[in-house]
């Protein structure tokens, strides 16, 4: 599964995207898994109220299932326009 990071999440984690092999069933599970890996993930995902998630390029939430998913993205609240 491709995992993407944008804005300050990209900066804290230190890369724009990576290939992640995981058995995580939901986005929340994936976040826990990443946090346990390295401090930079723990720092990025410290306050999940400031993090938004998209699964296969659709906005969703932490409960979203990951079965069959090819792309997950994490980013802060959007500030376009």
């Amino acid at each position: 599964m491709q995992v993407l990071y944008f804005a300050w999440l990209r900066e804290r984690i230190g890369l724009p995207k990576e290939q992640v092999e995981t058995e995580a069933e939901t986005v929340a599970d994936l976040v826990l898994e990443l946090k346990s890996r390295e401090p930079r993930y723990a720092a990025a995902f410290e306050d999940m109220s400031a993090v938004r998630v998209a699964v296969d390029q659709e906005l969703t939430d932490l409960d979203a299932p990951l079965k069959g998913v090819s792309e997950v993205a994490f980013f802060p609240p959007m500030t376009g326009g």
Binding site: L4, A7, E58, A73, F75, P76, M78, T79, G80, G81
Partner: protein, 143 residues
């Protein structure tokens, strides 16, 4: 295509002329142009986006607006990359037989685009721009 995500600038007059070309049934044409406001420190910002999802999100907003209002045409152009103070960021154009639909659809598109399209602003010397509570509140009007 009525949705464009691009680094290049756009020409509002040309986009309007394009929308009006070859037809005389439009009664009301509304445009919204979002611009980079001068910042206290530094005069440049960078707009990051999520290629692929951005286009999808804007197309979804565009389709939603066309479903809710009797629009004759609708166009969204959003830039990304480095932008100086005074630069154009976003253009929304809506055409309708009557003004109410054109105004409401343009406001609706901007309200959704602000907090539902994957763009993030970083101001030079200031860091990432925080999302505005008012932008989230603005969405409630359309429920």
């Amino acid at each position: 295509m009525s949705v464009l995500v691009q680094e290049a600038d756009f020409d509002v007059g040309a986009e309007m002329a394009n929308m009006r070309a070859g037809r005389a049934d439009i009664g009301a044409l509304v445009s919204f142009t979002g611009l980079v406001r001068e910042m206290p420190n530094g005069s440049e910002m960078v707009l990051e986006h999520y290629p692929g999802m951005t286009e999808k999100a804007l197309q979804k907003i565009d389709a939603e607006a066309r479903a809710r209002w009797a629009l004759q045409d609708c166009c969204i152009i959003h830039r990304y990359g480095p932008l100086e103070a005074g630069a154009q960021i976003v253009l929304v154009l809506t055409a309708s037989p009557h003004r109410k639909a054109a105004f409401e659809a343009a406001e609706f598109i901007m309200d959704f685009l602000k907090s539902r399209a994957p763009f993030w602003k970083k101001e030079a010397g200031q860091g990432w721009v925080d999302a505005r509570e008012a932008d989230e509140t603005a969405l409630k009007r359309w429920r």
